[in-house]
Amino acid sequence: MTSTATATGFSQEAFDAFLTAHGEPSWCTDARRDAWDLFQQLDWPARNAEEWMRTDIRTFRLDRYGLPGGEVDNSLLPPALLSEGVELGGHSTAIDSVSLDGHLEQQWADKGVLFCSLGTAVREHGDLVRKYFGRAVDSSYDRFAALNTACFSGGTFLYVPRGVVVDQPFHCLTALTDGATDLSRTLVVLEEGAQATLMSEMKSTEGAEKGLHCGAIELMVAPGANLRFVNLQDWAHGVWHFAHQRAIVDRDATLQWTIGALGSKLAKVNQHVELVGQGAHSQVNGVIFTEGKQHLSYHTLQHHRAPHTTSDFLYKSALQDSSRTVWRGMIKVDPEAQKTDGYQRNDNLVLSAKARADSIPGLEIEADDVRCTHGSTSGRVDEEQIFYCQSRGFTRKEAARAIVAGFFQQIFDRITIESVRESLGLAVARKVREYE
């Protein structure tokens, strides 16, 4: 960082200063400017728009936040959850959208793997990044998508060349101090036949309460490649979280995408998987736990665009206190995507009378030879199960904990990364309080 763009709000001056400070290649600056124009032109989402009718952001004030930049204190980094005890192929960290240190094991660097902040990648591997940047996330989708493209900062770039199999996971930790802004963007590119695992987690620093995350994730999985991607959102409960996340999975490629959503005040996430090549397969896992007054809203799409593609989707949420979740899922099958097999399921465990889970599955099928199934359940913890545990000496609270952990186990059984299973399991179990 050569200059500090200490911005209040997202003014034109602040944006211009931000561009100057970054000194990026012109294709990137142009992309940012185009997105900035979109950001200026677009309105905030209408209250009655399908994606926003259950999610009220009237109290969100963008001018309380600003463009990232400036000094950060890396002693504030919170401990990582997902990578504990794991031998990593590389790691990176950022605070308030400013990248700190990063590391890539030499053996992977030697094979042509790139792992660094997206900002660094734009400057040092511009031609490569340019090929993929913005291919998955559509800046014109809404103001948040536009804002991220215009102002992304920090973030992660992972590139694995053709045929390279990386058997050590990568990890990135993104932290936010009180009231700060995170505009990180993740771009993962796996070339043909490559294999890799990336675990990304987002946390507030100790004691921080507020903040804004306006993020984007783009995952490009080339033919025959295999990507396991994990993103855990564990912000403090005063953080606004807006994210556009999309994967493009090509012929015979596999994506296992696990999301953990524990934090934030309000989250509005679009998670899309596009299966664009014959035989592409995706598995999406979601572990969501809400409490207090949290409001987490997920809009997911499994888009089958080629024949013989399979998608498997399972989100499970447990809700405590007066928290709320919204899940609106869609399986879309294009006319040419015959022999598609799509599955989606959302289960909600409601731990308190004041909590509420909205679960809205959907199918939009334009091919005739397909198999698509969906389902959703919402309910309280079964008192019979609680009694059964109690009759074996569990206290009511221990019983509720065990039952909630069991509820999520079905997801953990699908996750093939041990450290993710364990850390998410513990994090969820710790949150269960008295069950009323």
Binding site: Q385, Q390, R392, G393, F394, R396, E398
Partner: protein
């Protein structure tokens, strides 16, 4: 002094409907009691109320474990004071491995004063004990890695209940049709196991329709329940009689209770 479980004039209602209308019986630790009676007479209700199921509302009476009234305690406190029930229809707890469930249960029951969050009994020690108990009961070790009662056959559930009985070593146990849903060999194995686990170490209240279980666990006392009351108590010969000739004589001798039993059965049909 030996431990005593004393059920005293117990009245229980379910959904506002009286089911038990004054049931009394006393079990000393080391004794085996059979509780018999036609379907719907209130046998399971007696066990459920003793264990503390919230659905079964006690409207009168006491359940004394020595000088403690169990009715004042939550179900988990009853379990920790040494009372167990093998359920007629055990609940599935999906996602919770039987071994983990039992490790937690065993820890709590053996350390009644344990606070939440305190250490569980050491894994190695627990595994060893579980393994030897499972071998003894001829249960495959793979069973411990399955989720509690999830997708279990009727017979597997009953065997899992017996395994829990063996691990938790209660002072008193109600065994509610623990022999149903098992084939002949499994019934014999279950009966022998219960005799070995329970025998003179526990006070057993066995609810059963078959004679195999009682053959291996000869009751010191037999109680007959009808219409929510214990209408007759005798020795082992009463169990034999009921088994051979059914409840005709009982119904004739206790027409009021028989009428109530019919009413209860009709109301629930």
């Amino acid at each position: 002094m030996t431990d005593t479980l004393r059920i005293e004039d117990l009245h229980v209602a379910v959904e506002g409907k009286p089911i038990l209308k004054g049931a009394s019986l006393t079990i000393n630790r080391g004794e085996t009691h059979a509780l018999m009676g036609p379907n719907g007479s209130g046998k399971s209700t007696l066990g459920m109320a003793t264990m503390g199921h919230p659905h079964y509302e006690v409207t009168g009476g006491h359940v004394w474990l020595n000088d403690v009234d169990l009715l004042e305690l939550d179900a988990d406190e009853r379990a920790r004071s040494g009372v167990f029930m093998a359920f007629q229809r055990p609940m599935a707890i999906p996602g919770v491995k039987l071994a983990d469930f039992l490790r937690h249960a065993t820890t709590n029951v053996r350390n009644p004063d344990r606070q939440e969050g305190e250490e569980l009994i050491p894994m190695r020690e627990f595994r060893k004990e579980l393994k030897s108990k499972m071998e003894h009961l001829q249960i495959d070790m793979e069973f411990a890695r399955r989720y509690v009662n999830d997708g279990f056959s009727g017979g597997e559930m009953k065997r899992a209940e017996i395994l829990q009985l063996a691990m938790l070593q209660p002072k008193f146990a109600v065994l509610d049709e623990t022999d149903s849903g098992l084939d002949a060999d499994a019934v014999r194995l279950a009966s022998e196991s219960i005799a070995e686990i329970g025998g003179d170490k526990m006070g057993l209240l066995i609810i059963t329709h078959h004679d195999k279980l009682l053959e291996h666990n000869p009751p010191d006392f037999t109680h007959v329940m009808l219409g929510g009351r214990i209408v007759e108590t005798g020795g082992i010969e009463l169990a034999h009689e009921l088994h051979e000739r059914g409840y005709e004589r009982i119904r004739e001798e206790y027409p009021e209770a028989a009428a109530e039993n019919r009413e209860m059965a009709e109301a629930s049909a």
